[in-house]
């Protein structure tokens, strides 16, 4: 869930999509700059200082004061358009959806560039060479550039699990063992039913 920390609230997701679309639409050529500023703003500023977000979302602080805060902190540090966007969010009382808007905007940008996020889960960290092989294979298969997001999960034991959107390709040892388990359990049950006598030692 770490990649989509906010994605579970579908109403907020809708708001996020709406604002992200507007942000990307108005960004023009500066879109990549704005998005990297936006990410930096969330990671370096809001995550470090949770008080700031509370203040911006607070109904007790007036709009002008909030805009003053934003101006003082971010003027000349972020793209002016992003600053304006933050002010709009304050005015519309949507600061709470900021993170959703950011992650959605990044995703939409990736989509527009023809990139596809792929979560790669393995039991051990991948080498650069392996990553390149996987990315190459995915590009051939999907026809899009794959943005690999790596996750290490030792319980997989081996193999690889790819998550492309809602689709999961499970080639892990764990997955294979689970299916062997159900097949064997079924087979033994069937054998017990059909050849009960020969399985019993008197």
């Amino acid at each position: 869930m770490s990649e989509h920390a906010t994605v579970l609230d579908s109403d907020e997701q809708q708001v996020g999509t709406l604002y992200a679309k507007a942000l990307l639409g108005s960004a023009g050529d500066a879109v990549d700059e704005i998005l990297s500023d936006f990410e930096a703003l969330v990671v370096e500023c809001l995550d470090q200082h949770p008080g700031l977000e509370t203040a911006l979302a607070s109904p007790r602080i007036g709009q002008e004061e909030k805009e003053g805060i934003l101006d003082r902190i971010f003027r000349n540090r972020v793209h002016p358009l992003l600053l304006n966007f933050l002010k709009v969010l304050c005015r519309r009382d949507r600061i709470a959806s900021l993170r959703t808007i950011q992650t959605t905007a990044v995703q939409m940008r990736e989509e527009a560039l023809g990139k596809q996020r792929v979560i790669v889960q393995t039991a051990q960290a991948l080498s650069d060479e392996q990553k390149a092989t996987i990315a190459e294979a995915l590009k051939n298969k999907l026809g899009k550039d794959a943005v690999l997001i790596e996750q290490v999960d030792e319980s997989l034991l081996g193999g690889i699990v790819l998550r492309i959107g809602d689709k999961v390709l499970d080639g892990s040892i764990l997955g294979r063992m689970n299916s062997i388990r159900s097949v064997v359990a079924e087979g033994v049950q069937r054998a017990i039913r059909n050849q009960y006598d020969s399985l019993m030692s008197s």
């Binding site: 579908s10 998550r163 809602d166 689709k167 499970d170 087979g187 033994v188």
Partner: protein, 503 residues
């Protein structure tokens, strides 16, 4: 006695050797929230309506609502094992249940899992639970009778194979009893029976199963149970899965009878699901498509054309009314879908008229096509006679002096009412029914005391079976009341009456 571990090991080894490793490709989503019997899932972007999904605990669900941002799932199993954030897997297939001879004689849940402790259902075939009913071209009109063994029904509201006859009435008016008698009477006819219990007390279902077992009906009957304590989704799909099992026989050229006991509870389960799914409520808070919920179910009962084997599926849906209110939403819906109804009334029931059928408002829209000729002849005007008797009876209670003709009609009526009473679990064959109704309508019972009518009938039928089996055989073979048969019956009854002593 112990398991031989070597043998087991070799079985396991064989399974592993033949195991084909394939990349597991699946469509997944994440559980957003779980509540009574339903879950909302984010993701599953490619899932189709009605598709099966699986939760990590192995519980199966059905995609019910496809919304812009989420998918509404109905959970067919224990929803307490499901947590927020669980991964949901689309299985890419429709819900199916085991069908075929393996399900006969079993007590199953709506997913086809055994509830009778007799081990897994041995069946190689599966059939989807939701299928579209057969069309016009694949059907033929209902013409074969399905004998319920109950005199009042077979004589006045005959049921044909492929018909849908509603049994409606208040609580405790003998609705289930009528259906069970109909099942018992299918013994030795080759008709496979299915009893679907929806939202009933498990104790009542146990009694029904016990009765079916005691009278030997479990040899050809399947009981599908989703009791009052099972989650609403299972109660909702139970009739559909029962129908799938029954349809299998219909499409193989055989005959099946299915009892839905009862559809009011299924409607309530469906209402619960729909409201939890935030579908807009309509009349009595039922969703707008509750009519379709029942019509698509009952439409699956059919008499197939000869090209398709001529199989049939007859259904006896049951509806429980509140204080005789037939104009409530669900009763009117189901009345309009079915081909007739058997209306059971509490006041008749408590007067001792059992089955407590109100002949005036009970109808069968298939009518005489579903009766053998002999029955048509003896029972032709019975329903109207009985209705006019009820009117006269009310009039006679005013204490007015009656002319002899009216008095005779009244006397005949009292005897007919008495004759149509029938104890539970004692279905009669159609020939026996014809003989006793013949005796009453032709006036052979007019001089028998009203209190002795049932005694007269029992002894008459005993006499016919023991001494005049040739007459019974003749009637059964001809199926018609030809002059020869009629005079044989007349003389047999006259002979019996000479020796008849009440008591």
């Amino acid at each position: 006695m112990k398991f031989n571990s070597d043998e087991i090991a070799s079985v396991i080894q064989k399974e592993i050797e033949t195991f084909e490793s394939q990349m597991d490709v699946r469509e997944v989503g994440t559980v957003l929230e779980v509540s009574d019997g339903i879950a909302r899932v984010y993701g599953l972007s490619g899932v189709m309506s009605g598709e099966m999904v699986q939760f990590p605990s192995g519980v199966i669900g059905l995609a019910f609502n496809l919304e812009e941002n989420s998918v509404g799932i109905i959970i067919l199993g224990d929803y307490l094992t499901i947590n927020e954030g669980d991964e949901v897997k689309a299985l890419g297939k429709l819900l199916s249940v085991p069908v075929g001879d393996g399900v006969i004689g079993r007590v199953l849940d709506p997913l086809g899992n055994p509830l009778d402790g007799k081990g897994p259902v041995e069946s190689s075939e599966q059939r989807p639970v939701e299928v579209i009913a057969t069309g016009v071209a694949e059907r033929q009109p209902v013409h074969e009778p399905l004998q319920t063994g109950i005199k009042a029904i077979d004589a006045m509201t005959p049921i044909g194979r492929g018909q849908r006859e509603l049994i409606i009435g208040d609580r405790k008016t003998g609705k289930t009893a009528v259906a069970i008698d109909a099942i018992l009477n299918q013994k030795d006819t080759g008709v496979k029976c299915f009893y679907v219990a929806i939202g009933q007390k498990d104790s009542s279902v146990a009694l029904v199963v016990e009765a079916l077992r005691k009278y030997g009906a479990m040899d050809y009957t399947t009981v599908i149970v989703s009791g009052a304590s099972t989650p609403a989704p299972l109660q909702y799909i139970a009739p559909y899965s029962g129908t799938a099992m029954a349809e299998h026989f219909m499409f193989n050229g055989q005959h099946a009878l299915i009892v839905y006991d009862d559809l009011s509870k299924q409607a309530v389960a469906y209402r619960q699901l729909s409201l939890l799914m935030r579908r807009p409520p309509g009349r009595e808070a039922f969703p707008g498509d509750v009519f379709y919920c029942h019509s698509r179910l009952l439409e699956r009962s059919a008499k197939l054309s000869d090209d398709l084997g001529g199989g049939s599926l007859t259904s006896l849906p049951i509806i429980e009314t509140q204080e005789g209110e037939v104009s409530a939403y669900i009763p009117t819906n189901v009345i309009s879908i079915t081909d007739g109804q058997i209306y059971l009334q509490p006041d008749l029931f408590f007067k001792g008229v059992r089955p407590a059928m109100n002949a005036g408002i009970s109808v069968s829209r298939v009518g005489g096509a579903a009766q053998i000729k002999a029955m048509k002849k003896v029972a032709g005007g019975l329903r109207l006679d009985l209705a006019s008797f009820r009117e006269l009876e009310a009039f006679a209670q005013l204490g007015t002096e009656l002319d002899p003709a009216t008095q005779a009609q009244l006397d005949r009526g009292y005897r007919m009412v008495e004759l149509l009473k029938q104890p539970q679990y004692q279905p009669l064959s159609v020939t026996e029914q014809v003989i006793s109704i013949f005796a009453a309508t032709r006036g052979y019972m007019d001089d028998v005391d009203v209190g002795n009518v049932s005694d007269f009938e029992t002894k008459l039928l005993e006499f016919m079976r023991d001494r005049k089996s040739d007459v019974i055989n003749q009637l059964a073979e001809a199926g018609d009341l030809s002059e020869a048969v009629e005079s044989a019956i007349r003389s047999a009854i006259e002979e019996f009456k000479k020796g008849y002593r009440p008591g």
